[in-house]
């Protein structure tokens, strides 16, 4: 079986390795860099910058940890970017090494379907080549959405991609959109010293999360002196001599050194020859797929962001595995019922399953349990006491419908709930499992106990 994969991001590269493991002859085509948006302009670089910002933030608390300091500490953007680039290149090498080890052929160039069975590759530093295969996986991903109201110039009006390459920390940064990307950058640049303002159309920050999580994040942003303006639309953005002028729907005008627009992402379906392959697109220019991840052309599969579902690297990776398995003869379906998600604000957010308002809308008979990190000895020892763990469970069955964590290491902690939900476990199972002391995980056990009104480290209600 010959498989060609278009795009070597977290969807495509995982699909390539899986397919090779299953015995396929695999060619993967990448126009920019292996690892895709996730590794080069997304997940990994933002976390690297955030790590620098958090180290710097900690230095403001040295006294409270009993560390005396003499001299001054300041972030050096050039070195921060060097560190980021080093982290990326290590990971890129890792993926290239895996390709080599599993015998995956990497073609570096822009791939375009010229027929349902052939892709022409415009190689970076070699002549054109044609790749033929029995099955294809389209994993071309997405890019920051651009709309005419925000004339990106890559310098003053920027997207997340340029926000990862700023040579200097902007004195002021206005972010359009308080979604995941907007809030992550708000935390990074406010910790590094920028004066940050976020303008959001929806009534709350990270509006796809549980309302209680949004509320706490908004308070934490306020602590960082990030100004959040909600239910306001940005009408127009103009670059002038004294900075970027932002005109709001309430008639106000704000000025900032840079404006970061994070209002969503567009699907990479242009210029890849879908018409030559006979693959049809949906209304948002996404590629619709069935549960087995096939497009309307059965031997052409599509995975990840480009399919227009939830834009998460780990969904793309899982879909990559399923598509590879299906091509190799399996009959698997992509199940999106348990998808944990992480937001790397400070503090972090981890979520899985239903939000409380969704449980309410569905008319479910549910109960909740909540536990504050500040009631844990470990959180105090770490000096990170803000945040909570919240569980939403079905009353009759005691099964976990959703869980939400905002606080230290929330992105890691959430997986205990994801495993429990995947295995159909009950709240009782988490409550009755011994959790090691002193850990943040104890808070998960206590939140589970609180669902039954039996948390130990909480006052009587």
């Amino acid at each position: 079986m010959k498989i060609a994969i278009l795009g070597a991001g977290p969807g495509g590269y995982v699909a390539a390795i899986k397919a090779a493991q299953l015995g396929a002859e695999v060619t993967i085509i990448e126009s920019t860099e292996v690892g895709g948006t996730c590794l080069n302009w997304g997940c990994i670089p933002t976390k690297t910058l955030l790590a620098s910002a958090e180290v710097y933030a900690k230095t403001k608390e040295l006294d409270s940890f009993g560390i005396d300091m003499s001299g001054s500490i300041s972030p050096n953007m050039q070195k921060i970017l060097e560190r980021k680039n080093k982290v990326i290149s290590t990971q890129v090498k890792g993926i290239r090494g895996l390709f080599k080890s599993w015998g995956v052929t990497l073609k570096e160039g822009r791939g375009t379907f010229i027929s349902p069975g052939e892709i022409k590759v415009q190689m970076k530093d070699a002549p054109e080549e044609t790749v033929t295969a029995d099955a294809f996986i389209i994993a071309t991903g997405s890019r920051p959405a651009q709309i005419p109201a925000f004339p990106f110039d890559g310098k003053n009006i920027i997207s997340s991609t340029e926000a990862l390459e700023l040579k200097e920390i902007p004195k002021s940064l206005l972010i359009v959109g308080a979604g995941v990307i907007g809030c992550e950058f708000a935390c990074i640049y406010s910790e590094l010293g920028s004066e940050v303002t976020i303008v959001e159309l929806m009534p709350r920050a990270v509006s796809t999360e549980d309302e209680a999580v949004s509320k706490l994040l908004e308070k934490e942003l306020k602590k960082k002196k990030v100004k959040l303006i909600t239910e306001i639309k940005v009408e127009k953005v103009e670059v002038k001599d004294d900075g970027v002028h932002v005109f709001l729907s309430n008639g106000k005008e704000l000025v900032a050194e840079k404006v970061l627009v994070s209002i969503g992402r567009a699907f990479n379906t242009n210029g890849i020859g879908l018409e030559n392959a006979g693959v049809s697109m949906g209304p948002r220019k996404e590629i619709p797929v069935n549960e087995k991840l096939q497009t309307n052309v059965p031997h052409i599969y599509a995975i990840g962001d480009v399919t227009g579902g939830i834009l998460l690297a780990h969904i793309a990776s899982k879909q990559g595995i399923i598509a590879a398995e299906n091509i190799m003869g399996a009959d698997k379906k992509f199940d999106s019922s348990v998808v944990p998600a992480a937001i790397f604000t400070s503090p972090e957010i981890g979520s899985v399953g239903l939000r409380e308002h969704q449980a309410k809308e569905k008319g479910l008979d549910y109960k909740t349990g909540e536990f504050q990190f500040r009631a844990l000895g470990k959180a105090h020892a770490m000096g990170e006491i803000s945040g909570f763990i919240k569980i939403i469970a079905e009353k009759s069955s005691d099964k976990i419908l959703g869980a939400h964590i905002i606080g230290p290491h929330a992105s890691d902690l959430i997986h205990e709930f994801a495993v429990a939900m995947h295995g159909g476990l009950k709240v009782k199972d988490i409550a009755e499992t011994i959790h090691a002391h002193p850990t943040l995980s104890e808070g998960l056990m206590e939140a589970a106990e609180d669902v039954h009104g039996a948390a130990i480290h909480m006052p009587k209600k």
């Binding site: 306020k222 504050q372 500040r374 006491i385 803000s386």
Partner: protein, 128 residues
């Protein structure tokens, strides 16, 4: 020990009225129960607040709790010093640790509140 010229709410807040202006804070009992206060989320000026609803949110090392407004009104001033030094509330709950000043609408609401003697009795009951 609770000043006699203040009125007290059962959610452990106090109010001092002078004309239409009402200064609000939390009581000594409240600050002691909360422990070390690490942050207060102050309301924005011009926010309208109902009596018995949340005026501000206090975080201590032990708990997060609401500051319940003893009166209805519009926030005309907040104690900005608390943003940088919330521990002032622990140190001087009835003085420099005030939370906000409201312009009150209905002075009759004050009649619902306790005086210092009643509040002390109330706290003794709560402590039992």
């Amino acid at each position: 020990m609770n000043p006699e010229d203040l009125k007290y709410h059962k959610e452990h807040t106090w109010v001092k009225v002078s004309g239409k202006k009402a200064t609000v804070g939390i009581t000594d009992y409240a600050q002691d129960a909360l422990g070390d206060i690490v942050y207060i989320d102050l309301p924005e000026p011009e926010t309208a607040v109902e009596a018995n609803s949340e005026l501000a949110e206090i975080e201590s090392t032990k708990a997060t709790s609401s500051v319940i407004s003893p009166v209805s009104g519009t926030v005309i001033e907040v104690n900005e010093n608390l943003s940088e030094s919330p521990e002032i509330i622990n140190e001087e709950p009835y003085g420099k640790g005030w939370v906000a000043v409201l312009e009150i609408e209905d002075a009759a609401e004050l009649d619902e509140l306790m005086d210092s003697t009643d509040y002390e009795k109330y706290v003794e009951e709560e402590a039992k």
